[in-house]
Symmetry: C2
Subunit: 189 residues, 2 copies
């Protein structure tokens, strides 16, 4: 099947993309590592479950993989059916055809700020074997660029204290505090 | 027109609701102030621009009212067209037929946590003339309840240090830090 082969730009046309490839900044893509182990940045596609999508996310949080590809695909389609809201960007290691980096922005519509929009950067993760290649920076830059292009007046993310220095390097500054509902917290942790 | 009259439950059926009234906790609604100045909690409706919706939000942030009711209505419909995502709750002062409190949750779909969902509480505001009636607490509780009912594994909000004590009283605890993209920050502030 063509979508399990190392991909070329021509191959992208045959994939079931979450959003248009053109929304990913060519400048950011061009800064990915080249050489023997080539990487490619593209939108998440409906066949990415098998490319270790959830394994990469497990770096970040509890994934609780249901091992149900149909449920994963259903979530993919639900997100895509939400107009101009979810943009999941992945970095693919072309040699192994495995995902090594993921990052998502969802764009929230608001009534304030002139019926404005806010970009929420979520679930940034890079495979531990790929550290030192600045993939983390690229997987932040791409959703940030999508948010800017989408007219967001603000782009935010939440992180723990450990990751603040990293996000500072990515051009983010501390702003407010995240608070979490306690009752649900206790039922899940 | 019936939707400018003080409302009864029967009137709700004639309004163009953002979501089902049944999603609003009856227990929370029942705790709203009664007496001479009655209040009612309901979903935002497509005619709420004229009920001071943006004026109430101006307590919170720059509203930049475009004075274009059609643009406001278009945003309302765009939010409602996003399946199971936006839930804007309002508190109406029935005597004046004006909105005196607003709160929104949008429910984000994720791939991690068993294809989980997160409730993001946004844009909580209460008219300054209505302070001391615990409307702020109610306008947090309603979207929190919607998030719980919607199966969210986590419900979060971002706030500044000044508002942390208030959100603590509402059952929220400090968790992570919000960070904001600096380039867009400078272009808007």
């Amino acid at each position: 099947m063509i979508d399990t082969m190392p991909m070329t730009h021509a191959d992208l046309a045959s994939l079931d993309l979450m959003f248009l490839q053109e929304l990913i900044s060519p400048e950011v893509s061009a800064q990915l590592p080249s050489g023997v182990s080539k990487t490619q940045m593209r939108p998440l596609v409906s066949t990415d479950y098998k490319r270790r999508h959830l394994d990469v996310l497990s770096v970040l949080s509890i994934v609780n993989d249901l091992c149900e590809v149909l449920a994963w695909v259903s979530q993919f389609h639900a997100m895509r059916a939400t107009p101009n809201a979810y943009f999941s960007v992945i970095i693919l290691d072309k040699a192994s055809d495995k995902i090594v980096g993921v990052g998502t922005v969802f764009i929230e519509r608001k009534f304030l700020r002139g019926l404005g929009r806010v970009g929420h950067i979520e679930d940034i993760a890079v495979d531990r074997s790929q550290q030192g290649k600045k993939l983390g920076l690229r997987i932040i830059q791409a959703p940030t660029h999508i948010s800017e292009s989408g007219g967001c007046y603000k782009i935010i993310l939440n992180c723990n204290d450990t990751n603040i220095p990293f996000y500072r390097k990515c051009g983010y500054v501390k702003k407010e505090k995240e608070m979490m509902n306690l009752s649900i917290f206790y039922s899940f942790y």
